[in-house]
Protein backbone atom coordinates (compact mmCIF):
# COMPACT_ATOMS: atom_id res chain seq x y z
CA UNK A 1 0.00 0.00 0.00
CA UNK A 2 1.35 3.34 -0.93
CA UNK A 3 0.93 5.67 1.97
CA UNK A 4 0.06 9.17 0.93
CA UNK A 5 -0.03 10.74 4.35
CA UNK A 6 0.04 14.37 3.28
CA UNK A 7 -2.68 13.84 0.70
CA UNK A 8 -4.87 12.05 3.23
CA UNK A 9 -4.51 14.92 5.62
CA UNK A 10 -5.24 17.37 2.84
CA UNK A 11 -8.64 15.79 2.42
CA UNK A 12 -9.09 15.49 6.16
CA UNK A 13 -8.51 19.23 6.38
CA UNK A 14 -11.12 19.81 3.69
CA UNK A 15 -13.70 17.63 5.40
CA UNK A 16 -12.97 19.38 8.65
CA UNK A 17 -13.44 22.75 6.94
CA UNK A 18 -16.76 21.65 5.53
CA UNK A 19 -18.01 20.69 8.96
CA UNK A 20 -16.73 23.88 10.49
CA UNK A 21 -18.39 25.97 7.79
CA UNK A 22 -21.62 24.20 8.46
CA UNK A 23 -21.43 24.94 12.16
CA UNK A 24 -20.63 28.57 11.49
CA UNK A 25 -23.33 29.45 8.98
CA UNK A 26 -26.23 27.20 9.79
CA UNK A 27 -29.13 28.34 11.90
CA UNK A 28 -30.66 24.94 12.13
CA UNK A 29 -29.70 23.05 15.24
CA UNK A 30 -29.87 19.74 13.41
CA UNK A 31 -27.49 21.00 10.75
CA UNK A 32 -25.14 22.00 13.52
CA UNK A 33 -25.12 18.39 14.60
CA UNK A 34 -24.51 17.27 11.04
CA UNK A 35 -21.51 19.60 10.80
CA UNK A 36 -20.29 18.21 14.06
CA UNK A 37 -20.59 14.67 12.78
CA UNK A 38 -18.64 15.57 9.66
CA UNK A 39 -15.86 16.99 11.79
CA UNK A 40 -15.86 13.85 13.91
CA UNK A 41 -15.41 11.80 10.77
CA UNK A 42 -12.40 13.86 9.80
CA UNK A 43 -10.86 13.25 13.22
CA UNK A 44 -11.52 9.54 12.88
CA UNK A 45 -9.83 9.45 9.50
CA UNK A 46 -6.91 11.35 10.98
CA UNK A 47 -6.39 8.71 13.64
CA UNK A 48 -6.41 5.84 11.21
CA UNK A 49 -4.11 7.68 8.83
CA UNK A 50 -1.57 8.33 11.57
CA UNK A 51 -1.88 4.76 12.80
CA UNK A 52 -1.39 3.36 9.33
CA UNK A 53 1.68 5.47 8.72
CA UNK A 54 3.43 4.33 11.87
CA UNK A 55 2.27 0.74 11.82
CA UNK A 56 0.12 1.10 14.90
CA UNK A 57 -2.99 -0.13 13.13
CA UNK A 58 -4.26 -2.26 15.97
CA UNK A 59 -3.92 0.59 18.40
CA UNK A 60 -5.60 2.95 15.95
CA UNK A 61 -8.48 0.53 15.55
CA UNK A 62 -8.85 0.26 19.28
CA UNK A 63 -9.03 4.04 19.53
CA UNK A 64 -11.50 4.30 16.69
CA UNK A 65 -13.86 1.79 18.21
CA UNK A 66 -13.87 3.68 21.48
CA UNK A 67 -14.32 6.96 19.64
CA UNK A 68 -17.29 5.63 17.75
CA UNK A 69 -18.96 4.60 21.00
CA UNK A 70 -18.36 8.06 22.41
CA UNK A 71 -19.62 9.66 19.21
CA UNK A 72 -22.87 7.78 19.36
CA UNK A 73 -23.52 8.86 22.92
CA UNK A 74 -22.58 12.44 22.14
CA UNK A 75 -24.87 12.58 19.12
CA UNK A 76 -27.65 10.98 21.10
CA UNK A 77 -27.22 13.57 23.84
CA UNK A 78 -27.14 16.37 21.27
CA UNK A 79 -30.22 15.14 19.51
CA UNK A 80 -32.10 14.74 22.76
CA UNK A 81 -31.20 18.29 23.73
CA UNK A 82 -32.45 19.38 20.32
CA UNK A 83 -35.73 17.55 20.64
CA UNK A 84 -36.26 18.81 24.15
CA UNK A 85 -35.56 22.35 23.02
CA UNK A 86 -38.01 21.86 20.19
CA UNK A 87 -40.68 20.66 22.61
CA UNK A 88 -40.02 23.53 24.94
CA UNK A 89 -39.71 26.45 22.55
CA UNK A 90 -41.13 24.97 19.34
CA UNK A 91 -38.03 26.12 17.55
CA UNK A 92 -34.80 24.61 16.32
CA UNK A 93 -33.23 27.95 15.46
CA UNK A 94 -29.97 28.22 17.31
CA UNK A 95 -29.67 31.92 16.54
CA UNK A 96 -32.76 32.55 18.60
CA UNK A 97 -31.04 31.11 21.66
CA UNK A 98 -29.87 34.44 23.02
CA UNK A 99 -31.77 34.84 26.26
CA UNK A 100 -28.57 34.67 28.29
CA UNK A 101 -26.58 37.79 27.66
CA UNK A 102 -24.68 40.60 29.33
Amino acid sequence: MTNSFALDWYFITLIFTAGLYCMLVSRNLLRQLIGLEIMSKSALLGVISAGALTGNLALAQALIITMIVIEVVIVAAGLSLLVKNYRLTNSIDIWSLDKLRG
Binding site: F16, M23, L29, Q32, L36, M39, S40, S42, A43, L44, G46, V47, S49, A50, G51, L53, T54, N56, L59, A60, L63, T66, M67, I70, V73, I74, A77, G78, L81, L82, K84, N85, L88, T89, I94, L97, K99, L100, G102
Partner: protein, 478 residues
Amino acid sequence: MTTGLLAYLLIPLFTAVLIPFAARTRHRLAGVLANVTLLAGLINVSLTLFNPANLASAFSGLAENGFALLMIFVIYLVALCVTFFSSYFIGNDSTVNRVPYYSLILTSVSAMCGIVTTGDFFTLYIFVEVLAVTSFALITSDDGAKGLEGAIKYFLLTFPASLFIIFGIAFLMLTAGTFSFESLKVIIASGLPVGGVVFAVSLILLGFLIKSGVVPFHTWTPDAYEGAYAPVSAYLAGIVTKVSGVYAVIRISMILRLFEIKAYHTAEVLMFLGMLSIVVGALAALRQNEFKRMLAFSSISQVGYIILAAGMGTPLALLGAVFHLVNHATFKTVLFLNSASLEKSAGTSDMNKLGGMEHSMPWTSWTSIVALLSTAGVPPLSGFWSKLIIIIALWDGGAKIYAVTALLFSVVTLAYFMVMQRKVFFGKPTEASRNAREVRPAMLVPVVGMCLLIAALGAFFPYIYAYLVEAIAARTIL
Protein backbone atom coordinates in the same frame (compact mmCIF):
# COMPACT_ATOMS: atom_id res chain seq x y z
CA MET B 1 -3.56 4.34 36.34
CA THR B 2 -3.02 3.65 39.96
CA THR B 3 -5.07 0.59 40.72
CA GLY B 4 -5.20 1.55 44.38
CA LEU B 5 -7.39 4.47 43.48
CA LEU B 6 -9.66 2.47 41.18
CA ALA B 7 -12.20 2.02 43.92
CA TYR B 8 -12.93 5.75 43.98
CA LEU B 9 -13.93 5.39 40.35
CA LEU B 10 -15.81 2.13 40.44
CA ILE B 11 -17.92 2.51 43.54
CA PRO B 12 -19.75 5.69 42.45
CA LEU B 13 -20.31 4.15 39.04
CA PHE B 14 -21.74 1.07 40.68
CA THR B 15 -24.02 3.16 42.88
CA ALA B 16 -25.06 5.18 39.84
CA VAL B 17 -26.15 2.01 38.11
CA LEU B 18 -27.77 0.75 41.30
CA ILE B 19 -29.85 3.86 41.93
CA PRO B 20 -32.42 3.42 39.11
CA PHE B 21 -33.18 -0.06 40.39
CA ALA B 22 -33.05 0.63 44.10
CA ALA B 23 -34.95 3.90 43.98
CA ARG B 24 -37.49 2.97 41.39
CA THR B 25 -40.42 3.50 43.70
CA ARG B 26 -38.96 5.59 46.49
CA HIS B 27 -37.23 8.43 44.73
CA ARG B 28 -35.83 9.98 47.85
CA LEU B 29 -33.67 6.94 48.38
CA ALA B 30 -31.58 8.12 45.41
CA GLY B 31 -30.30 11.12 47.33
CA VAL B 32 -29.54 9.04 50.38
CA LEU B 33 -27.60 6.50 48.37
CA ALA B 34 -25.59 9.19 46.61
CA ASN B 35 -24.82 10.98 49.85
CA VAL B 36 -23.77 7.82 51.61
CA THR B 37 -21.52 6.76 48.76
CA LEU B 38 -19.84 10.12 48.51
CA LEU B 39 -19.50 10.49 52.27
CA ALA B 40 -17.88 7.08 52.53
CA GLY B 41 -15.47 7.96 49.76
CA LEU B 42 -14.69 11.31 51.34
CA ILE B 43 -14.00 9.73 54.72
CA ASN B 44 -11.79 7.16 53.11
CA VAL B 45 -9.74 9.66 51.18
CA SER B 46 -9.51 11.95 54.21
CA LEU B 47 -8.17 9.10 56.29
CA THR B 48 -5.50 8.49 53.70
CA LEU B 49 -4.65 12.15 53.41
CA PHE B 50 -4.82 13.34 57.00
CA ASN B 51 -3.41 10.22 58.52
CA PRO B 52 -1.36 11.35 61.56
CA ALA B 53 1.55 9.31 60.30
CA ASN B 54 1.47 11.25 57.05
CA LEU B 55 1.24 14.56 58.83
CA ALA B 56 4.15 13.64 61.05
CA SER B 57 6.37 12.65 58.17
CA ALA B 58 5.33 15.71 56.16
CA PHE B 59 3.61 13.44 53.61
CA SER B 60 6.87 11.97 52.39
CA GLY B 61 5.65 8.46 53.15
CA LEU B 62 2.45 8.74 51.11
CA ALA B 63 2.09 5.65 48.96
CA GLU B 64 -0.29 6.92 46.30
CA ASN B 65 -0.06 9.62 43.71
CA GLY B 66 -0.39 12.77 45.81
CA PHE B 67 -1.87 14.98 43.14
CA ALA B 68 -4.58 12.47 42.26
CA LEU B 69 -5.35 11.91 45.93
CA LEU B 70 -5.75 15.63 46.56
CA MET B 71 -7.97 16.01 43.52
CA ILE B 72 -10.11 13.04 44.57
CA PHE B 73 -10.52 14.64 47.95
CA VAL B 74 -11.73 17.87 46.37
CA ILE B 75 -13.99 16.07 43.91
CA TYR B 76 -15.69 14.05 46.64
CA LEU B 77 -15.93 17.09 48.87
CA VAL B 78 -17.62 19.32 46.32
CA ALA B 79 -19.83 16.52 45.05
CA LEU B 80 -20.92 15.67 48.57
CA CYS B 81 -21.68 19.31 49.31
CA VAL B 82 -23.74 19.57 46.15
CA THR B 83 -25.66 16.35 46.65
CA PHE B 84 -26.31 17.11 50.30
CA PHE B 85 -27.46 20.60 49.39
CA SER B 86 -29.55 19.27 46.50
CA SER B 87 -31.32 16.69 48.60
CA TYR B 88 -32.87 19.57 50.54
CA PHE B 89 -32.92 22.04 47.68
CA ILE B 90 -35.05 19.90 45.37
CA GLY B 91 -37.73 19.55 48.03
CA ASN B 92 -41.06 19.06 46.36
CA ASP B 93 -39.95 20.34 43.00
CA SER B 94 -41.55 17.91 40.57
CA THR B 95 -39.61 19.15 37.56
CA VAL B 96 -36.41 17.59 38.80
CA ASN B 97 -36.16 13.89 38.32
CA ARG B 98 -34.18 12.66 41.28
CA VAL B 99 -33.11 9.27 40.01
CA PRO B 100 -31.19 10.31 36.88
CA TYR B 101 -30.02 13.44 38.67
CA TYR B 102 -28.11 11.54 41.32
CA SER B 103 -27.04 8.87 38.88
CA LEU B 104 -25.54 11.53 36.66
CA ILE B 105 -23.75 13.17 39.54
CA LEU B 106 -22.27 9.86 40.61
CA THR B 107 -21.29 9.02 37.05
CA SER B 108 -19.58 12.35 36.71
CA VAL B 109 -17.77 11.79 40.02
CA SER B 110 -16.60 8.50 38.64
CA ALA B 111 -15.50 10.17 35.41
CA MET B 112 -13.64 12.88 37.29
CA CYS B 113 -11.84 10.28 39.36
CA GLY B 114 -10.95 8.60 36.10
CA ILE B 115 -9.56 11.88 34.78
CA VAL B 116 -7.39 12.55 37.78
CA THR B 117 -6.10 9.01 38.18
CA THR B 118 -5.26 8.26 34.58
CA GLY B 119 -1.85 8.73 33.08
CA ASP B 120 -2.87 8.48 29.47
CA PHE B 121 -4.15 11.10 27.07
CA PHE B 122 -6.70 8.94 25.34
CA THR B 123 -8.23 7.67 28.57
CA LEU B 124 -8.27 11.24 29.73
CA TYR B 125 -10.22 12.11 26.60
CA ILE B 126 -12.76 9.37 27.19
CA PHE B 127 -13.49 10.45 30.73
CA VAL B 128 -13.63 14.09 29.72
CA GLU B 129 -16.30 13.15 27.23
CA VAL B 130 -18.21 11.18 29.85
CA LEU B 131 -18.04 14.17 32.13
CA ALA B 132 -19.21 16.50 29.34
CA VAL B 133 -22.17 14.31 28.46
CA THR B 134 -23.28 14.05 32.07
CA SER B 135 -22.99 17.77 32.58
CA PHE B 136 -25.17 18.57 29.55
CA ALA B 137 -27.93 16.60 31.15
CA LEU B 138 -27.28 17.95 34.63
CA ILE B 139 -27.55 21.54 33.42
CA THR B 140 -31.05 20.92 32.13
CA SER B 141 -32.18 19.11 35.28
CA ASP B 142 -34.97 21.58 35.99
CA ASP B 143 -36.33 21.54 32.41
CA GLY B 144 -35.95 25.29 32.08
CA ALA B 145 -35.46 27.13 28.82
CA LYS B 146 -32.39 28.88 30.20
CA GLY B 147 -30.82 25.63 31.23
CA LEU B 148 -31.45 24.17 27.82
CA GLU B 149 -29.91 27.16 26.12
CA GLY B 150 -26.88 26.91 28.37
CA ALA B 151 -26.55 23.20 27.74
CA ILE B 152 -26.81 23.55 23.97
CA LYS B 153 -24.22 26.30 23.88
CA TYR B 154 -21.98 24.30 26.17
CA PHE B 155 -22.43 21.30 23.91
CA LEU B 156 -21.74 23.03 20.63
CA LEU B 157 -19.09 25.53 21.66
CA THR B 158 -16.93 23.01 23.49
CA PHE B 159 -17.31 20.33 20.87
CA PRO B 160 -14.28 21.50 18.82
CA ALA B 161 -12.24 20.75 21.94
CA SER B 162 -12.83 17.02 21.53
CA LEU B 163 -11.73 17.23 17.93
CA PHE B 164 -8.50 18.95 18.79
CA ILE B 165 -7.79 16.42 21.48
CA ILE B 166 -8.33 13.64 18.92
CA PHE B 167 -6.15 15.34 16.35
CA GLY B 168 -3.51 15.85 19.00
CA ILE B 169 -3.73 12.20 19.92
CA ALA B 170 -3.38 11.26 16.26
CA PHE B 171 -0.26 13.38 15.96
CA LEU B 172 1.00 11.99 19.22
CA MET B 173 0.57 8.51 17.85
CA LEU B 174 2.41 9.66 14.76
CA THR B 175 5.33 11.33 16.48
CA ALA B 176 5.62 9.44 19.74
CA GLY B 177 3.71 6.23 19.27
CA THR B 178 2.30 6.43 22.75
CA PHE B 179 -0.10 8.53 24.81
CA SER B 180 0.94 7.92 28.35
CA PHE B 181 2.60 10.67 30.37
CA GLU B 182 5.32 8.40 31.61
CA SER B 183 6.44 7.22 28.19
CA LEU B 184 6.34 10.83 26.95
CA LYS B 185 8.76 11.64 29.73
CA VAL B 186 10.95 8.76 28.58
CA ILE B 187 10.90 10.05 25.02
CA ILE B 188 11.80 13.56 26.17
CA ALA B 189 14.57 12.19 28.33
CA SER B 190 15.94 10.15 25.42
CA GLY B 191 17.10 13.36 23.78
CA LEU B 192 15.57 12.66 20.35
CA PRO B 193 14.07 15.65 18.50
CA VAL B 194 10.62 16.31 19.88
CA GLY B 195 9.27 19.21 17.81
CA GLY B 196 6.38 17.17 16.47
CA VAL B 197 5.51 15.95 19.94
CA VAL B 198 5.33 19.53 21.10
CA PHE B 199 2.88 20.34 18.34
CA ALA B 200 0.74 17.35 19.19
CA VAL B 201 0.72 18.21 22.87
CA SER B 202 -0.10 21.82 21.99
CA LEU B 203 -3.16 20.67 20.07
CA ILE B 204 -4.33 18.59 23.02
CA LEU B 205 -3.68 21.60 25.20
CA LEU B 206 -5.88 23.69 22.91
CA GLY B 207 -8.70 21.24 23.43
CA PHE B 208 -8.42 21.48 27.18
CA LEU B 209 -8.13 25.25 27.04
CA ILE B 210 -11.47 25.33 25.24
CA LYS B 211 -12.89 23.03 27.88
CA SER B 212 -11.63 25.18 30.71
CA GLY B 213 -13.16 28.35 29.31
CA VAL B 214 -10.10 30.49 28.78
CA VAL B 215 -10.85 33.79 27.19
CA PRO B 216 -11.36 33.52 23.49
CA PHE B 217 -13.12 30.22 24.21
CA HIS B 218 -14.98 31.40 27.28
CA THR B 219 -18.30 32.29 25.71
CA TRP B 220 -20.10 29.13 26.80
CA THR B 221 -19.07 29.51 30.45
CA PRO B 222 -21.38 32.31 31.65
CA ASP B 223 -24.33 30.94 29.72
CA ALA B 224 -23.91 27.42 31.03
CA TYR B 225 -23.38 28.54 34.63
CA GLU B 226 -26.21 31.02 34.58
CA GLY B 227 -28.65 28.74 32.87
CA ALA B 228 -27.85 25.65 34.89
CA TYR B 229 -30.04 24.27 37.65
CA ALA B 230 -28.88 26.13 40.76
CA PRO B 231 -26.94 23.43 42.68
CA VAL B 232 -25.57 22.16 39.40
CA SER B 233 -23.94 25.54 38.71
CA ALA B 234 -22.03 25.09 41.93
CA TYR B 235 -21.04 21.61 40.83
CA LEU B 236 -20.06 22.78 37.35
CA ALA B 237 -18.15 25.85 38.41
CA GLY B 238 -16.65 24.30 41.48
CA ILE B 239 -15.28 21.10 40.11
CA VAL B 240 -16.59 19.77 36.78
CA THR B 241 -15.15 22.28 34.35
CA LYS B 242 -12.08 22.61 36.51
CA VAL B 243 -11.32 18.92 36.33
CA SER B 244 -12.30 18.52 32.71
CA GLY B 245 -10.24 21.50 31.59
CA VAL B 246 -7.99 23.17 34.07
CA TYR B 247 -6.69 20.00 35.71
CA ALA B 248 -5.65 18.66 32.31
CA VAL B 249 -3.99 21.98 31.46
CA ILE B 250 -1.94 21.77 34.65
CA ARG B 251 -1.05 18.17 33.87
CA ILE B 252 0.01 19.07 30.35
CA SER B 253 2.07 22.02 31.50
CA MET B 254 3.87 19.68 33.86
CA ILE B 255 4.90 17.82 30.72
CA LEU B 256 5.50 21.01 28.73
CA ARG B 257 8.10 22.20 31.19
CA LEU B 258 10.12 19.09 30.44
CA PHE B 259 10.42 20.19 26.81
CA GLU B 260 12.17 23.27 28.15
CA ILE B 261 12.94 25.74 25.38
CA LYS B 262 11.13 23.80 22.66
CA ALA B 263 7.74 24.41 24.23
CA TYR B 264 8.57 28.00 25.01
CA HIS B 265 6.06 29.49 22.61
CA THR B 266 3.25 27.24 23.71
CA ALA B 267 3.89 28.17 27.32
CA GLU B 268 3.94 31.81 26.31
CA VAL B 269 0.56 31.52 24.61
CA LEU B 270 -0.71 29.79 27.71
CA MET B 271 0.43 32.65 29.92
CA PHE B 272 -1.01 35.22 27.56
CA LEU B 273 -4.39 33.50 27.48
CA GLY B 274 -4.32 33.23 31.27
CA MET B 275 -3.68 36.93 31.60
CA LEU B 276 -6.39 37.70 29.06
CA SER B 277 -8.82 35.58 31.06
CA ILE B 278 -7.95 37.38 34.28
CA VAL B 279 -8.50 40.76 32.65
CA VAL B 280 -11.61 40.02 30.63
CA GLY B 281 -13.25 37.94 33.33
CA ALA B 282 -12.71 40.55 36.01
CA LEU B 283 -13.80 43.46 33.85
CA ALA B 284 -16.87 41.68 32.59
CA ALA B 285 -17.83 40.68 36.12
CA LEU B 286 -17.91 44.31 37.20
CA ARG B 287 -21.19 45.19 35.55
CA GLN B 288 -23.18 42.02 35.84
CA ASN B 289 -26.62 42.11 37.35
CA GLU B 290 -27.22 38.41 37.59
CA PHE B 291 -25.50 36.87 40.58
CA LYS B 292 -24.64 33.60 38.90
CA ARG B 293 -23.42 35.24 35.73
CA MET B 294 -21.14 37.49 37.76
CA LEU B 295 -19.79 34.42 39.52
CA ALA B 296 -19.25 32.78 36.16
CA PHE B 297 -17.12 35.67 34.93
CA SER B 298 -15.28 35.64 38.23
CA SER B 299 -14.67 31.95 37.63
CA ILE B 300 -13.15 32.77 34.24
CA SER B 301 -10.91 35.28 35.92
CA GLN B 302 -9.77 32.82 38.60
CA VAL B 303 -9.15 30.14 35.99
CA GLY B 304 -6.95 32.73 34.35
CA TYR B 305 -4.75 32.78 37.43
CA ILE B 306 -4.37 29.02 37.30
CA ILE B 307 -3.61 29.00 33.60
CA LEU B 308 -1.14 31.84 34.00
CA ALA B 309 0.72 29.94 36.69
CA ALA B 310 0.60 26.74 34.66
CA GLY B 311 2.08 28.58 31.71
CA MET B 312 4.87 29.87 33.91
CA GLY B 313 5.77 26.25 34.47
CA THR B 314 8.24 26.54 37.34
CA PRO B 315 7.63 24.01 40.12
CA LEU B 316 6.50 26.76 42.46
CA ALA B 317 4.08 28.16 39.89
CA LEU B 318 2.62 24.71 39.26
CA LEU B 319 2.16 24.19 42.99
CA GLY B 320 0.41 27.55 43.14
CA ALA B 321 -1.82 26.51 40.25
CA VAL B 322 -2.74 23.25 41.99
CA PHE B 323 -3.45 24.99 45.25
CA HIS B 324 -5.49 27.68 43.56
CA LEU B 325 -7.48 24.98 41.80
CA VAL B 326 -8.29 23.44 45.18
CA ASN B 327 -9.14 26.81 46.68
CA HIS B 328 -11.24 27.79 43.72
CA ALA B 329 -13.27 24.64 44.19
CA THR B 330 -13.95 25.59 47.82
CA PHE B 331 -14.85 29.24 47.50
CA LYS B 332 -16.68 29.07 44.21
CA THR B 333 -18.81 26.22 45.53
CA VAL B 334 -19.75 28.32 48.53
CA LEU B 335 -20.68 31.31 46.40
CA PHE B 336 -22.73 29.31 43.92
CA LEU B 337 -24.51 27.40 46.67
CA ASN B 338 -25.30 30.74 48.28
CA SER B 339 -26.73 31.98 45.02
CA ALA B 340 -28.86 28.85 44.95
CA SER B 341 -30.04 29.59 48.50
CA LEU B 342 -30.92 33.12 47.44
CA GLU B 343 -32.86 31.81 44.50
CA LYS B 344 -34.74 29.43 46.73
CA SER B 345 -35.44 32.01 49.41
CA ALA B 346 -36.01 35.22 47.54
CA GLY B 347 -37.10 33.68 44.29
CA THR B 348 -34.49 35.48 42.21
CA SER B 349 -30.78 35.90 41.86
CA ASP B 350 -31.00 39.21 40.02
CA MET B 351 -28.84 41.56 42.06
CA ASN B 352 -30.97 44.59 41.21
CA LYS B 353 -34.00 42.98 42.77
CA LEU B 354 -32.16 41.95 45.92
CA GLY B 355 -30.88 44.04 48.78
CA GLY B 356 -30.45 43.99 52.53
CA MET B 357 -30.38 40.22 52.61
CA GLU B 358 -27.96 40.25 55.55
CA HIS B 359 -30.88 40.76 57.89
CA SER B 360 -32.98 37.94 56.60
CA MET B 361 -30.16 35.59 55.65
CA PRO B 362 -27.21 36.30 57.94
CA TRP B 363 -25.49 32.94 57.51
CA THR B 364 -25.59 33.17 53.76
CA SER B 365 -24.26 36.70 53.93
CA TRP B 366 -21.35 35.83 56.18
CA THR B 367 -20.33 32.73 54.31
CA SER B 368 -20.36 34.79 51.12
CA ILE B 369 -18.06 37.30 52.73
CA VAL B 370 -15.60 34.60 53.75
CA ALA B 371 -15.65 33.07 50.29
CA LEU B 372 -15.28 36.36 48.45
CA LEU B 373 -12.44 37.47 50.65
CA SER B 374 -10.70 34.23 49.94
CA THR B 375 -11.30 34.70 46.21
CA ALA B 376 -9.88 38.19 46.30
CA GLY B 377 -6.84 36.91 48.15
CA VAL B 378 -7.23 38.49 51.54
CA PRO B 379 -5.02 37.00 54.24
CA PRO B 380 -5.17 34.72 56.11
CA LEU B 381 -7.72 32.83 54.04
CA SER B 382 -6.64 30.11 51.67
CA GLY B 383 -7.01 32.15 48.49
CA PHE B 384 -4.39 34.55 49.72
CA TRP B 385 -1.73 31.87 49.90
CA SER B 386 -2.36 30.45 46.49
CA LYS B 387 -2.38 33.86 44.86
CA LEU B 388 0.74 34.75 46.79
CA ILE B 389 2.51 31.64 45.55
CA ILE B 390 1.43 32.34 42.00
CA ILE B 391 2.55 35.96 42.06
CA ILE B 392 5.85 35.15 43.73
CA ALA B 393 6.46 32.41 41.19
CA LEU B 394 5.67 34.78 38.33
CA TRP B 395 7.99 37.41 39.75
CA ASP B 396 10.78 34.92 40.31
CA GLY B 397 10.30 33.50 36.87
CA GLY B 398 10.88 36.90 35.32
CA ALA B 399 7.30 37.52 34.23
CA LYS B 400 7.19 40.76 36.20
CA ILE B 401 4.52 42.49 34.15
CA TYR B 402 2.27 39.47 34.48
CA ALA B 403 2.92 39.40 38.23
CA VAL B 404 2.01 43.06 38.66
CA THR B 405 -1.09 42.76 36.50
CA ALA B 406 -2.20 39.68 38.38
CA LEU B 407 -1.78 41.60 41.61
CA LEU B 408 -3.73 44.58 40.29
CA PHE B 409 -6.59 42.46 39.12
CA SER B 410 -6.97 40.83 42.47
CA VAL B 411 -8.01 44.34 43.54
CA VAL B 412 -10.59 44.36 40.77
CA THR B 413 -11.73 40.99 42.06
CA LEU B 414 -12.31 42.51 45.44
CA ALA B 415 -14.10 45.43 43.76
CA TYR B 416 -16.69 43.39 41.92
CA PHE B 417 -17.30 41.18 44.89
CA MET B 418 -17.82 44.22 47.06
CA VAL B 419 -20.30 45.55 44.52
CA MET B 420 -22.07 42.20 44.71
CA GLN B 421 -22.06 42.11 48.48
CA ARG B 422 -23.36 45.66 48.67
CA LYS B 423 -26.10 45.08 46.14
CA VAL B 424 -27.28 41.76 47.50
CA PHE B 425 -26.61 41.62 51.21
CA PHE B 426 -26.21 45.18 52.41
CA GLY B 427 -28.35 48.20 51.84
CA LYS B 428 -32.09 48.52 52.10
CA PRO B 429 -34.29 45.46 51.88
CA THR B 430 -36.27 45.30 48.67
CA GLU B 431 -39.60 43.77 47.82
CA ALA B 432 -38.12 40.39 47.06
CA SER B 433 -35.85 40.25 50.07
CA ARG B 434 -38.45 41.31 52.62
CA ASN B 435 -40.25 38.00 52.37
CA ALA B 436 -37.05 35.97 52.25
CA ARG B 437 -36.03 33.80 55.18
CA GLU B 438 -32.84 32.00 55.94
CA VAL B 439 -32.73 28.57 54.33
CA ARG B 440 -33.04 25.55 56.55
CA PRO B 441 -29.99 24.68 58.63
CA ALA B 442 -29.30 21.50 56.72
CA MET B 443 -28.68 23.54 53.58
CA LEU B 444 -26.23 25.72 55.49
CA VAL B 445 -24.15 22.75 56.58
CA PRO B 446 -22.20 22.34 53.30
CA VAL B 447 -21.60 26.08 53.00
CA VAL B 448 -20.46 26.56 56.56
CA GLY B 449 -18.31 23.46 56.34
CA MET B 450 -16.67 24.79 53.21
CA CYS B 451 -16.03 28.13 54.91
CA LEU B 452 -14.38 26.36 57.81
CA LEU B 453 -12.27 24.49 55.30
CA ILE B 454 -11.29 27.78 53.63
CA ALA B 455 -10.19 29.17 56.98
CA ALA B 456 -8.43 25.92 57.87
CA LEU B 457 -6.57 25.75 54.58
CA GLY B 458 -5.39 29.27 55.23
CA ALA B 459 -4.50 28.64 58.85
CA PHE B 460 -2.73 25.34 58.27
CA PHE B 461 -0.96 26.57 55.21
CA PRO B 462 2.41 25.13 56.31
CA TYR B 463 0.92 21.63 56.22
CA ILE B 464 -0.63 22.29 52.85
CA TYR B 465 2.64 23.58 51.54
CA ALA B 466 4.45 20.55 52.88
CA TYR B 467 1.90 18.36 51.13
CA LEU B 468 2.26 20.26 47.88
CA VAL B 469 6.01 20.03 48.00
CA GLU B 470 6.38 16.48 49.22
CA ALA B 471 3.48 14.70 47.62
CA ILE B 472 3.08 16.63 44.38
CA ALA B 473 6.23 18.51 43.48
CA ALA B 474 8.58 15.74 44.48
CA ARG B 475 6.75 13.06 42.51
CA THR B 476 4.55 14.43 39.78
CA ILE B 477 6.36 17.55 38.68
CA LEU B 478 9.98 16.61 38.99
